[in-house]
């Protein structure tokens, strides 16, 4: 089992949710987060004084998937989160990483492992 964690633009969430659903991933955890990568900040103006905002609002999507599904889910997720129609999106589209998961237990039934995913 793997934990797929994606940091994406908040506006991309609807599309990501749609493709994950289509890929058979229904359970997910979504968090509103702030952070920065290579994307530069933006400047806001209040009565002429500048206010630099360098932490961007992002959505963090976390899903646990069986090992065999990882590549498919990551590909779908990346495709949905990428901005624009081309092969290359824009700076700030986000990042996806995969980590190993030792154990999963469903609280309701006590099922373990892949059965609990």
């Amino acid at each position: 089992m793997k934990l797929v964690t994606a940091i994406i633009r908040p506006v991309a969430f609807d599309e990501v949710e749609e493709v994950l659903d289509a890929a058979g991933v229904h359970g997910m955890t979504v968090t509103e987060v702030r952070g920065r990568g290579r994307q530069k900040g933006h400047t806001e103006l209040y009565r002429g004084s500048e206010f630099a905002v360098d932490m961007h609002a992002k959505a963090k999507v976390e899903v646990v998937v069986p090992d065999d599904d990882v590549d498919r889910v990551v590909a779908a997720l990346v495709g949905a989160a990428r901005s624009g129609d081309g092969e290359v999106g824009r700076v700030g589209d986000g990042k996806v990483w995969v980590t190993k998961v030792e154990q999963v237990v469903r609280v309701r039934t006590g099922e373990q492992g892949v059965d609990a995913v």
Binding site: E32, R34, L45, Y46, R47, G48, S49, M55, A59
Partner: protein
């Protein structure tokens, strides 16, 4: 009555989320403190029979004696309105003048010190200055204040008594108080510009009563003032937006709101002395000048948090002085300024009136501020300033950010701050890196998933 609550929201939206209640409370408390003093002796000190043109006799109308009607046939009138209505109308001027000052001291002044300062300042500064400027001979009492009666400077609705007066007091108080922690390195971002716009809308509407009501009648003069007031505010908004577009590349919402206020401040002393062209000139001049003036604080190093000096002192001065230039005798006050063939006569009277109010407000406010600081202190503790002044001064927070870690407090009495701090999650976040503006990260910009 709408103006001071409107100002509360206008100012409240401009501060950080963790200081908004304190900001709103300073305006509302100005109504409370000044309202009581006004009823007890303030109205009398402003409009009682003059003692040498300097102060009204505070004993003339103690507790508003002689003001309230005794039966329908003995209603005392001021102009065409009942004296009791005039008392409350003028109370609103007194309250908002005090409330305006609070914009300069956002985020850092002890609320108890503010209440005491507000009461003393109203008594020693506003009441006498209002007497000088508003108490015309024969209006309420036989003899009135020196600026309106002897100097004959024109201040129809409070350019000197309200805006210049409050602007100078704000400059002094902000200087005595010192700058906020992190000022300039971590500037405070307005936490709710929609609240600012609601506030300015209420303020604008209230201002119509403020200016037109100063005609003390529902007549042609009041209608003329209505026109100049609205026109100037519109011009002020446009001028501010143009300055921003040229200087910063964007026209901002806060700029539009500020331009409206600047136009209103500028026209306030002049609203009964100019025609539409004059109102346009004043609105454009105040809007542009105030937009430029709000940056001065960064060069001079005083933390006028919400630009009371940049908007009210500068706008008030422009309006007061422009009366001497663009006043026309076709307007209700019947005086020609320099550009309308009136020579320099009215201009020097305007300048002298403004200078006198500035000098008196500067000296008196300095003494009051230093005295309050020496007696009880003016500033909250640094830790409370970082955690947000709402919690330390009012034991409240404006917004519920979720209940993680929160539970019912043990104490039912005063001051269980730990509970509130844990509930909002602010203390830990703020103390992680003291002095930085983490309010943004913690509380701001929740756009949500869309």
């Amino acid at each position: 009555m709408l103006m001071t609550p409107g100002l509360a929201f206008f100012y409240g939206g401009m501060v950080r989320a963790r200081s908004v209640l304190n900001m709103i409370m300073m305006s509302f408390s100005a109504l409370g403190v000044v309202g009581v003093l006004w009823a007890l002796f303030g109205f009398s000190a402003a409009f009682g029979d003059s003692v040498g043109g300097v102060i009204g006799n505070p004993l003339d109308f103690v507790a508003l004696g002689g003001i309230l009607p005794e039966g329908a046939e003995s209603i005392p009138l001021v102009g065409s309105i009942p004296a009791a209505a005039f008392v409350i109308f003028q109370l609103m001027f007194a309250s908002i003048t005090v409330a305006l000052i609070s914009g300069a001291v956002a985020d850092r002044m002890k609320f108890s010190a503010w209440l005491i300062f507000a009461g003393i300042w109203a008594t020693l500064v506003y009441f006498p200055v209002a007497h000088w400027v508003f108490a015309a001979d024969g209006l309420v009492s036989e003899r009135g204040g020196w600026i309106i009666s002897d100097l004959r400077a024109i201040d129809f609705a409070g350019g000197t008594a309200v805006h210049i007066n409050a602007g100078v007091a704000a400059l002094v108080l902000a200087t005595v108080l010192g700058v906020r922690r992190g000022w300039r390195t971590h500037p405070s971002r307005p936490h709710n510009l929609t609240l600012v716009m609601i506030g300015v809308a209420l303020l604008w509407f209230g201002w119509i009563g403020f200016n037109s009501g100063s005609a003390l009648a529902a007549d042609g003069a009041a209608a003329s003032v209505l026109v100049t007031t609205i026109v100037s505010a519109c011009a002020g908004m446009l001028a501010w937006l143009v300055v921003e577009r040229v200087r910063d590349g964007h026209h901002t919402t806060l700029g539009a709101a500020s331009g409206v206020v600047a136009g209103l401040v500028g026209i306030t002393p002049a609203c009964a002395s100019v025609d539409v062209v004059g109102a346009l000139v004043i609105g454009l001049a105040s809007g542009a000048a105030c937009a430029l003036a709000v940056g001065i604080k960064y060069r001079l190093g005083y933390d006028d948090s919400l630009d009371v000096v940049g908007v009210h002192l500068v706008g008030g001065l422009i309006g007061t002085l422009l009366v001497g230039l663009v006043a026309t005798s076709s307007a209700p006050t019947g005086v020609d300024g320099l550009f309308y063939g009136g020579g320099f006569d009215q201009l020097w009277r305007q300048a002298a009136g403004a200078a006198a109010v500035m000098a008196y407000a500067a000296v008196a406010t300095t003494v009051i501020a230093l005295a309050v600081r020496a007696c009880i202190g003016l500033r909250v503790d640094p830790e409370d300033e970082i955690a947000g002044i709402d919690l330390s001064q009012h034991a409240e927070s404006a917004y519920d950010w979720g209940r993680a870690g929160g539970r019912k407090g043990r104490g039912s009495g005063r001051g269980d701050h730990a509970y509130a701090l844990v509930e909002t999650g602010l203390r830990d976040a703020e103390q992680a890196v003291p002095g930085q503006d983490h309010g943004y990260a913690v509380t701001g910009g929740d756009r949500g998933l869309s």
